[in-house]
């Protein structure tokens, strides 16, 4: 076995050769630290379930060192794995001090890593299988010509189709064209926002004609939720989108949409 032989940087030079000419560095064919580890395991003909951490760690570190020596930027993910390997290695080196103590360290420190490698191997193989299929546009083709008689027939009443990503992306592209100051961020941060709350209320009013204030806050009866909900209601009221009613003093507050939206009616009357 050559595994114990010295792993000089030269060994990696052919592998890395040419890489540094590229403006962005990708560690050759290694799609991340797990991929590199699998490569090392295979190269050393090790059993994935019984890898020698000592060998793998050294070669892994050599590899990273070679990258650095060549002034290649080493991705953070690779360094995290290096730390993990060293940690496992050091845990293996630690003598079991008190054997009569509970079997705390009974588990193999490599276990978690092995499980991840095995799982990763599955998806890597699955990806290869995907790539080996007859792909539309590569090995398999569909008809592209359209019949003149049918081109004339236009889609009139059919539904529309688009993906969420297209929607966000359209918005993103649009924003790039617009000066920044035009914008206020509707939903800043992850905490409760009035904008979210307004959307929530609007959604509910689509399904019910009347909504009670209590229903809006019953799932999360916190001071913050009540205040934000109340502010959202005031805002909606100011925009004249809802009408608020209260049955009696201290009675329950409920509200209805201010306009029963029948688009056809309204469109013709004013805007269009």
């Amino acid at each position: 076995m050559t595994v114990e032989s010295h792993h000089h940087i030269d060994e990696y030079l052919p592998l890395l050769d040419g890489l540094h000419e590229q403006y962005s560095v990708h560690l050759d064919k290694f799609d991340g630290p797990l991929d590199l580890l699998l490569h090392l395991i295979r190269k050393n003909e090790l059993d994935i379930c019984d890898i020698s951490i000592a060998i793998i760690t050294r070669q892994y570190l050599d590899f990273i060192k070679a990258m650095k020596d060549l002034n290649l930027e080493v991705a953070g993910d690779f360094l995290v794995m290096a730390a993990t390997l060293l940690q496992i290695k050091s845990r293996q080196l630690l003598p079991v001090v008190e054997p009569e103590d509970q079997e705390v360290d009974e588990t193999d420190p490599r276990e978690e890593l092995i499980r991840r490698l095995q799982e990763y191997q599955q998806y890597k193989d699955a990806g290869m299988l995907f790539g080996a299929r007859a792909l539309l546009g590569r090995e398999v083709f569909v008809r592209t010509a359209f019949e003149p008689a049918l081109v004339a027939a236009q889609n009139v009443e059919g539904p529309l189709e688009a993906s969420l990503f297209e929607l966000v992306d359209a918005f993103r592209v649009l924003l790039l064209k617009i000066p920044v100051e035009t914008f206020h961020d509707v939903a800043p941060g992850d905490s409760l926002s009035i904008a979210d709350c307004i959307n929530d209320i609007l959604s509910q009013l689509q399904e019910h004609n009347t909504v009670q204030f209590n229903d809006l806050v019953k799932d999360e009866l916190t001071r913050e939720r009540v205040i934000v909900t109340f502010l959202a209601l005031l805002e909606l009221c100011r925009l004249k989108l809802i009408r608020i009613f209260q049955g009696s003093v201290h009675g329950s507050i409920w509200f209805v949409p201010a306009v029963a939206a029948d688009p056809s009616e309204v469109i013709n009357t004013d805007e269009f």
């Binding site: 560690l27 090995e139 083709f141 889609n155 966000v168 993103r172 064209k177 609007l202 949409p257």
Partner: protein, 201 residues
């Protein structure tokens, strides 16, 4: 008739975006004689006419093309007229603005898009993707728009809060430099045997 050649010619005509001339087919299939190609073509025409399927092989505009039989046009237009259409860019943009900035008025939509949006908004209203929430209490009392329940259905959203934010999409783009990578190049001449094409069956 060389049936392998016939099948190859069929696949060529099938995938061409306009009628394919005999000359062109011969140019593409240099390994076959012109005579073979011609007889394969007439064999194919006869075959498709005889089988009485939904389409046939027709010589049009100096080339060959598969066309549906005219008798079936009424069925086909049923599909064409009612199939799901892709959003136009302006419809998508307008819908995006309404979705992310609701409640808002037409003037606000137009301010963002920089063009008149009356027509697009009307279409979106008619498709029930956008709805009128009310009227704004400012001079002119303009209508206020928001998205509808159908909007959520079309995009498969549980509620408006499930709309991805711009920040989330932009965060995806902010990739570390090393992740940008080359596409895996396939050797162009690598011919994979038939069996390996369908690895899962």
């Amino acid at each position: 008739m060389n049936s392998e050649l016939s099948a190859i010619i069929e696949s060529l005509i099938f995938t061409a975006d306009s009628a394919l001339s005999t000359d062109r087919i011969c140019d593409l299939l240099t390994e076959f004689e012109r005579g073979e190609v011609k007889s394969a073509l007439s064999g194919l025409v006869e075959y498709h006419q005889g089988r009485g399927g939904g389409f046939e092989l027709i010589e049009v505009a100096g080339g060959w093309q598969f066309r549906t039989r005219p008798a079936f046009h009424s069925y086909i237009t049923r599909h064409i007229k009612t199939r799901a259409a892709k959003f136009s860019q302006s419809a998508l943009e307008t819908l995006a603005i309404v979705a992310y900035r609701q409640p808002l008025t037409r003037a606000e939509v137009e301010h963002l898009r920089g063009v008149d949006c009356g027509g697009v908004l009307k279409t979106l209203l008619e498709k029930h993707l956008v709805r009128i929430l009310g009227k704004k209490d400012i001079p002119g009392r303009p209508l206020i728009y928001g998205t509808s329940k159908e909007f959520l259905e079309v995009f498969g959203l549980k509620d408006l809060k499930s709309l991805p934010t711009l920040r989330e999409i932009q965060a995806l783009g902010e990739q570390p430099k090393f992740e940008r990578q080359e596409e895996l190049q396939l050797e162009p001449d690598k011919v994979i045997p038939m069996e390996s094409y369908l690895p899962f069956e």
